[in-house]
Symmetry: C2
């Protein structure tokens, strides 16, 4: 059970964007240099965040990405599911309905109790991430972090 | 983020073993026929449960598998982690320490706040599965299930 490596990228990049001045943007190239990540692949992940409604992309020579909503309304769950989808890691293939022990269909109208417990655990995971916002993350960084982030990000040179 | 298909197999096979008469065993072949699963691969997964201390294997012509502990002391977490390991699905590669924005090592003595939140979510998932025992699963099955399971499992013919 593994999340893609890009999960770490989008969590950090969104946290970085949350520290920029209001209205400021950062391009995929700026963010890739900030974290030494492969630019084209990072750009794809950032586009996935745009499709998920978490980031907004602006065009033009100084275009780039910014948060599409206040940091208090963006959760870690939204970021993670934007790159990995929302499916439960447990896949029930209904083996209870096959082989010598096969249960008849009328006994399988309800979700298998094992699948239900696995889905409940996934929901506990989701709830924890849904209760953590980017604003909450920023609040736990050193007070000097946002100014440092803004000074370190490379000047915009377009995407 | 996907658990292996064998997760469903071991959850169901352990639930089946929990319904046998005290002291009774079932071989990998019997369990494979019961659920129409590939026998040799299932046997590997059952051996992983033995290594995890969840099942005991007996040898001899009527040998097979049985629970190593009471069903009330076997949790879904033990079964899942026996086949998939216990690692968090989120891997922190410390990208905060690389690129133009690299934080100095002295600022990275604590776990990254993002990795910490991801690990907390994984712990919430683990806790949910750790609180669910095989005995609890059996208690939610129809009262007729154990007798049906025992009557449907193929007579032992050795492993």
């Amino acid at each position: 059970m593994k999340l893609p490596a890009s999960t770490e990228w989008v969590l950090h990049c969104a946290t970085t964007l949350a520290q920029l001045d209001p209205g400021a943007t950062a391009s995929a190239k700026q963010l890739a240099e900030y974290y030494d990540l492969p630019g084209p692949y990072l750009a794809k992940q950032l586009q996935a965040l745009v499709r998920a409604g978490v980031l907004a992309a602006t065009t033009g020579p100084r275009g780039g990405f910014r948060l599409a909503r206040p940091a208090s309304e963006i959760t870690l769950l939204q970021l993670v599911e934007a790159v990995d989808g929302g499916a439960s890691p447990y896949e029930c293939r209904e083996i209870r309905q096959q082989g010598r022990g096969a249960l008849p269909p009328e006994d399988c109208r309800d979700t298998c109790i094992l699948a239900r417990k696995m889905d409940e655990a996934h929901e506990a995971w989701r709830q924890h991430l849904a209760s953590t916002t980017l604003a909450g993350i920023i609040a736990e960084l050193p007070p000097t972090a946002p100014a440092r982030t803004r000074s370190r990000i490379a000047p915009s040179t377009g995407r």
